[in-house]
């Protein structure tokens, strides 16, 4: 579990990026931080691996105050995926994935074998292992980024708009892939996006942020949709417009949901999912 306790961050130039932020991020679940540009999402994420240190407040990982953990070892046990993959352009795909395991003293052979397995995990052909990042498409690079983050088998994965720079079709693909991988590996994922659809799709817990990382609402996607805490949230999630607004029409004893264009979106069933 990751826990923020009254965390604030004021940058040297006086910008207050985060103000009195408190939150629990449950283990083995995906928490999505969503908010408009400049709301402090990246800053929050980077405080978890000490790329940024809070001005006040504490952050704990499984009860341990990370201010007492040296940054380099801390970072090596946390996976990190960035928007532009952040792969090392001078290293082949396989070497990018094995970087941290090798730094940690894993043998070259074991690291390589594991890297090839990880290529399978993220849905890439093993034949790509000896290419350089510039020889891959954007979507493939992101997959390698995910594989690299998984390479040390971290408990925590930080993902900063990892699918923000790829086209919508590839993005949808990558999102499904992440859901599949998460089912398999069950990491504590902290995922940053400004796309509310992506947040609802991936998040077990969704945190909607206003400027200075003030929490507008925290909850499961269903909770937030059912009960937006404020006009800001309702507006942000587009609760009563667009494709989220469905109208119930009763026909032949069943309830059919109709979208704003009058097309049938589905049938309303009672009970828990999967029943």
């Amino acid at each position: 579990m990751i826990e923020f306790r009254s965390v604030s961050k004021r940058f040297p130039d006086g910008t207050i990026a985060v103000e009195d932020f408190s939150l629990e991020l449950p283990s083995r679940r995906t928490t999505v931080l969503v908010g408009s540009s400049g709301s402090g999402k990246t800053t929050l994420l980077r405080m978890i691996n000490r790329m940024v240190d809070p001005t006040s407040g504490t952050i704990e990982i499984d009860g341990e105050d990370i201010a007492r953990v040296a940054p380099v070892p801390l970072r090596r046990r946390i996976g990190y995926v960035l928007q532009n993959s952040g792969l090392l352009p001078h290293r082949k795909v396989v070497d990018n994935i094995t970087t941290v395991p090798l730094l940690e003293g894993v043998s070259k052979r074991d690291a390589r074998a594991r890297a090839l397995e990880l290529l399978d995990t993220v849905g890439l052909d093993r034949g790509l292992a000896d290419r350089y990042p510039s020889q891959l498409s954007g979507g493939q690079q992101q997959r390698v980024g995910v594989a690299r983050a998984l390479a040390v088998d971290p408990n925590i994965m930080l993902m900063d708009e990892p699918f923000g720079a790829v086209d919508p079709i590839v993005r949808a693909d990558l999102q499904q892939e992440l859901i599949r991988i998460q089912r398999q590996v069950a990491k504590t994922i902290v995922f940053v996006t400004h796309d509310i659809d992506e947040a609802f799709l991936l998040g077990d817990q969704v945190v909607i942020l206003e400027q200075r990382a003030r929490i507008a609402q925290v909850g499961s996607p269903a909770e937030i949709l059912a009960n937006p805490a404020s006009d800001f949230v309702a507006d942000f999630i587009g609760a009563d417009r667009g494709r989220r607004a469905l109208r119930a029409v009763h026909t032949d004893g069943r309830t059919v949901l109709i979208d704003r264009d009058g097309r049938a979106a589905g049938v309303l069933l009672e009970g828990e999912p999967g029943e």
Binding site: N49, M51, V72, P73, L74, R75, R76, Y80, L82, N84, S85, G86, L87, L88, P89, H90, R91, T99, V100, L103, D120, G123, L124, D125, L128, Y132, S134, Q135, L136, S137, G139, Q140, R143, R148, A149, V170, D173, E177, R180
Partner: protein, 226 residues
């Protein structure tokens, strides 16, 4: 032309000597420039200082440097060491800016992501920043190599034999062929070193050759999940 046939041995000997004198200043200059270039790249304060000093050093005429160094360092005026140090100074003066520019050319996102995955600053410098600065370093090194090869000739004025000997000797004795031979061989050595550096670059910077080709080869779709 007769002179050349009769003195092939001398020309060969001087060429080898010339090459032997050129290499150490190039290598030493590179090694010294890395920390200096890093200082110039890293801090605003040291940037101005280091780069201005380097620029000034390069403007000192080589002969003046040969005369100035011995009393300053307590070494013999007519020594190879004198030439080695002077040429290293020129190499550093040229190369420091290249190192600074090279380090600045590294994509900040890559630098940041290296930090994020757990590179220590030290390690990041040598295994990420320095290699990625490679193409700019190589360009600088090529200039240094050519400049050093041509400067070695000046060493003849302090008694260090190189192809420069053919200039002075040819001039004294009025043998044009000898002078021309000196010039041509100096150029040849410069070209050989330059070619070797380009080859070295291909060897140690393999990813830089792909870029142009790679763009065209990017597949349209991502791989189908396994």
């Amino acid at each position: 032309m007769n002179w050349l046939w009769n003195n092939l041995d001398l020309v060969l000997e001087l060429s080898v000597e010339h090459l032997r004198l050129s290499l150490p200043p190039i290598i030493l200059g590179f090694i010294v420039s890395v920390p200096l270039g890093w200082l110039a790249y890293r801090y605003k304060l040291t940037r101005g200082l280091v780069l201005t000093l380097a620029g000034l050093l390069y403007t000192i005429p080589s002969l003046a440097l040969f005369v100035l160094l011995p009393p300053l360092l307590g070494i013999s005026f007519l020594s190879e060491l004198n030439v080695l140090i002077a040429l290293t100074i020129y190499a550093v003066a040229l190369m420091t800016r290249s190192v600074a520019d090279g380090l600045a050319s590294v994509d900040p996102i890559v630098r940041e992501s290296a930090t994020a995955v757990g590179y220590s600053p030290w390690r990041r410098f040598f295994s990420v920043e320095l290699p990625l600065a490679g193409p700019v370093l190589l360009a600088g090194l090529r200039v240094v190599a050519v400049s050093t090869v041509s400067l070695v000739t000046v060493g003849v004025f302090v008694g260090v034999r190189s192809l420069g000997f053919l200039f002075t000797n040819g001039l004294q004795r009025g043998i044009i062929v000898e002078i021309v031979t000196g010039i041509v061989m100096t150029v040849v050595i410069a070209l050989i070193l330059d070619g070797l550096l380009v080859l070295l670059g291909r060897l140690v910077l393999p990813w830089t050759r792909l870029d142009a080709r790679a763009r065209r080869r990017i597949p349209v779709t991502t791989a189908v999940p396994a």
